[in-house]
């Protein structure tokens, strides 16, 4: 948890643009909310590693949203079940099901479909919200927070330095 906080703190106080951080957290949200061993998460991982987003923020987002994912799993399962058994969509699912790729993607799994749909819908609004919050933080709060003794201790720690170097290298 300390590592997650450190990652987030470093991200917020780094030179990275707010978009890099907010997109990273939003990608972490998708992988966190949906079942881990799903084909779409390979795509998310690919994007997180190849697109210039803040990796620390991605892993922090992944961790936080994994906990939320566990809490909301029954809700996602119900939503997915409702959609997969909706008579109006039966034709669509049947067509998609004929594709082995779609089967491998587990879109016919209730929790996978429900959670992926929710995280995709929430993705862009979350990016916008996080952008706004990060800008507000950097303008009004960051200077104040940096003066805290605990923060200075944290910045002097090996963990902070290690992550800073890692981020710098990337």
């Amino acid at each position: 948890m300390l590592t997650t906080l450190a990652k987030l703190f470093i991200a917020l106080n780094s030179e990275n643009s707010p978009k890099q951080i907010s997109y990273a957290i939003a990608l972490g949200m998708i992988i966190g909310l949906t079942p881990l061993f799903s084909l779409h998460n390979l795509v998310i991982l690919f994007l997180a590693f190849v697109v210039r987003v803040h990796l620390g923020a991605f892993f922090a987002g992944w961790t936080v949203f994994s906990i939320l994912g566990l809490l909301f799993a029954p809700l996602f399962a119900s939503l997915g079940h409702g959609l997969l058994t909706l008579p109006a969509l039966a034709g669509l699912w049947d067509t998609l099901y004929q594709s082995t790729f779609m089967q491998l993607a587990h879109f016919h799994h209730t929790t996978t479909l429900g959670s992926l749909l929710v995280s995709l819908i929430v993705f862009y609004p979350l990016v916008r919200l996080l952008n706004h919050l990060i800008l507000k933080y950097r303008t009004h709060i960051m200077a104040y927070v940096l003066k805290f003794k605990i923060v200075q201790t944290l910045k002097a720690s090996k963990v902070y330095k290690a992550y800073s170097q890692l981020q710098g290298a990337q």
Binding site: F49, V51, R52, F76, S78, H81, T85, Q98, H109, Q170
Partner: protein
């Protein structure tokens, strides 16, 4: 492009995926073990233990060692346990969301085995689990009632009818006494006779004398007629009393038989048993196995009901998500065990189950599931062979058939010592040992079960903790039988079927113990009826006395009535006629003298 992409990140991705793959490869066994323990514990509500899970990647095989699932109702026992389960799973189908087990080996599957240590219970199941053994073991106690106590019973018809006779007698007696007081007595009759004689002797000389005589005569007649009327009324009352008493006596005479019928019904003297004994002998174990089977079914039910409708009802499945399948070119069930071998450890010995096409969506492959049961390692060199197949159609229609044959299964210990007998005698009737031969078949159409089991118990040894003599006789009679055949029919809903047990135990008991019991019943009946008859007799004796009195009164009334009739119709009537004749003669004589003489 560089502004948006970092291609060196690909290396990071590969390293990350390799790291995840390595973790899975190394810790797969531990992850699955933890998953089974946590998931199983969450589902069952009690501790689940797995010693180890070994994973073989090619072909993908799971090897689960020493599985134990605590029974939440009795945490010192396991609901289910097995020594080893090896499943070869089709990995590709698994990735597509289906569990297809090509080959399954399950060793020493056991239900209700004792745990080394008491398992932790997370959720106490609702409702107390009443042991079927306890229910079946509650043998009906039959005790003959005490005759003296019985006679005190106010409900006895004989007692009430005897009392009724006395009441009727008293009432009639009082009524007749009143009537008797108003009747003419002997003196009155003599008085009438005297008066009649006086009238007869009266000399009539003039017409005036005749008129006077006529007046006296009419007065006497009126008086006699009044008494005659009293006598007539008394006769009617007497007849009514006679009828009332006759009715009371008849009812009293019939009462003892009615009482016997009532006593027989109340104390179930006609219905003792045999059926109860048969249920104890054959029903107890049968119900126990059946209940155990249903408990296992309930435990596995959510996994067996894989169609979407029933799955919707299973909230537990919905909570963790499920695959929903659509039209396929080569349909496969959601889960399937293509073939398997399961060894089941029971107190009767080791059974072997050969599985084929086990699933609950048979319409997809159009093949029925088949389970072949066999064993030649049952207690006492017993053997079993059987075959069960089942098929579930797409519309939910479920059909199943099965046949089995069991030979020479040793029930209880082959050699019984005193200690074993004592420990086995926990109820009024327990089967301590026997050799069992049985065969059976069943048909299941959806939830309608039709099963027939024919069995023979050879050289049975029954034990009892009963102290009553007749119960010991029952046990002795059963033990004396070399063979006890029976047939068990199980019909109706599979959730609560109707058990019918037909057994020659009926004949055995009727042939020996019931005779003894009948003798006791006859003795009881004789004793009871003799006591009742005494009551009747004493009441009837009273009735006889009264009958004598009534007869005397009846005779007296008839005599008195006859006497009065005689006086009225013959003697008094003749007096007037005679006097009239005399007067006529006198008038004739006078006229002769006057005109011709």
């Amino acid at each position: 492009m560089k502004k948006y992409f970092r291609w060196q990140g690909l290396l990071g991705l590969i390293a990350f995926l390799a790291f995840i793959a390595a973790i899975i490869y190394i810790f797969a066994g531990w992850i699955i073990k933890t998953g089974i323990e946590q998931g199983g514990g969450w589902y069952l509500g009690a501790e689940v233990n797995v010693e180890a899970v070994n994973v073989n990647w090619s072909p993908f095989t799971l090897d689960i060692v020493e599985f134990q699932a605590t029974d939440p109702k009795a945490p010192e026992f396991n609901a289910m346990q097995f020594k080893q389960a090896k499943a070869e799973v089709d990995l590709w189908q698994y990735l597509l969301g289906k569990v297809i087990v090509d080959d399954l080996t399950l060793a020493e599957l056991e239900f209700g085995g004792k745990r080394a240590s008491v398992g932790e219970v997370y959720r106490v199941p609702e409702g107390k689990n009443t042991s079927q053994t306890e229910q079946a073991g509650e043998a009906k106690e039959m005790a003959l009632p005490d005759v003296k106590q019985l006679l005190k019973d106010a409900d006895l018809i004989t007692v009430s009818k005897a009392e009724q006779l006395q009441t009727v007698y008293q009432a009639e007696k009082e009524q007749l006494a009143q009537i008797k007081d108003n009747l003419p007595d002997e003196e009155k009759l003599d008085f009438y006779k005297q008066k009649v004689k006086e009238i007869q002797d009266t000399k009539v000389k003039t017409a005036e004398d005749l008129v006077k005589l006529k007046a006296r005569l009419d007065e006497l007649k009126a008086e006699i007629k009044a008494d005659k009327k009293q006598i007539s009324q008394a006769k009617d009352s007497l007849q009514s009393s006679k009828d009332n008493l006759k009715q009371a006596v008849t009812e009293l005479k019939q009462a003892p038989d009615q009482d016997w019928q009532a006593v027989k019904t109340k104390y179930q003297l006609d219905t003792f048993e045999v059926e109860d004994v048969a249920h104890i002998v054959f029903g107890e174990k049968g119900r126990e196995y059946y209940t155990q089977g249903m408990e296992i079914y309930q435990m596995l039910k959510p996994f067996l009901s894989t169609d979407s409708e029933s799955a919707t009802e299973e909230q537990a499945i919905v909570d963790v998500g499920q695959f929903i399948h659509f039209t396929e070119d080569a349909p496969q069930p959601d889960w399937l065990i293509k073939q398997g071998m399961v060894s089941v450890k029971t107190p009767q010995g080791l059974f072997s189950l050969d599985l084929s096409e086990i699933n609950m969506q048979h319409w997809k492959r159009n093949k029925a599931s088949l389970i072949e049961v066999s064993s030649n390692q049952l207690k006492g060199n017993g053997q079993i062979s059987g075959k069960i197949d089942f098929f579930k159609a797409k519309d939910g229609n479920f059909l199943s058939e099965g046949k089995w044959l069991l030979e020479q299964l040793q029930i209880g210990a082959a050699q019984l010592d005193e200690e074993t007998i004592q420990s086995a005698a926990k109820s009024a009737l327990s089967l301590a040992a026997a050799k069992l031969f049985a065969d059976g078949e069943f048909k299941l159409n959806n939830f309608d079960l039709d099963a027939v089991i024919k069995l023979d118990l050879l050289d049975p040894t029954f034990v009892t903790n009963a102290s009553k003599g007749w119960q010991k006789k029952v046990v002795q009679a059963l033990n004396d039988a070399a063979k006890i055949p029976a047939e068990i029919d199980i019909l109706g809903s599979v959730m609560s079927p109707d058990w019918k047990i037909h057994s020659q135990i009926d004949e055995i008991i009727k042939g020996s113990v019931t005779q003894q019991l009948d003798a006791k019943l006859t003795e009881f009946k004789t004793d009871l009826q003799s006591q009742l008859n005494q009551k009747v007799a004493s009441s009837l004796k009273l009735s006889d006395q009264q009958a004598g009195e009534l007869a005397n009164l009846d005779a007296w009334l008839n005599d008195a009535d006859g006497t009065l009739n005689n006086l009225l119709d013959t003697q008094l009537k003749s007096v007037v006629d005679q006097e009239k004749e005399k007067a006529k003669e006198k008038v004739k004589d006078k006229l002769k003298n006057l005109f011709g003489g």
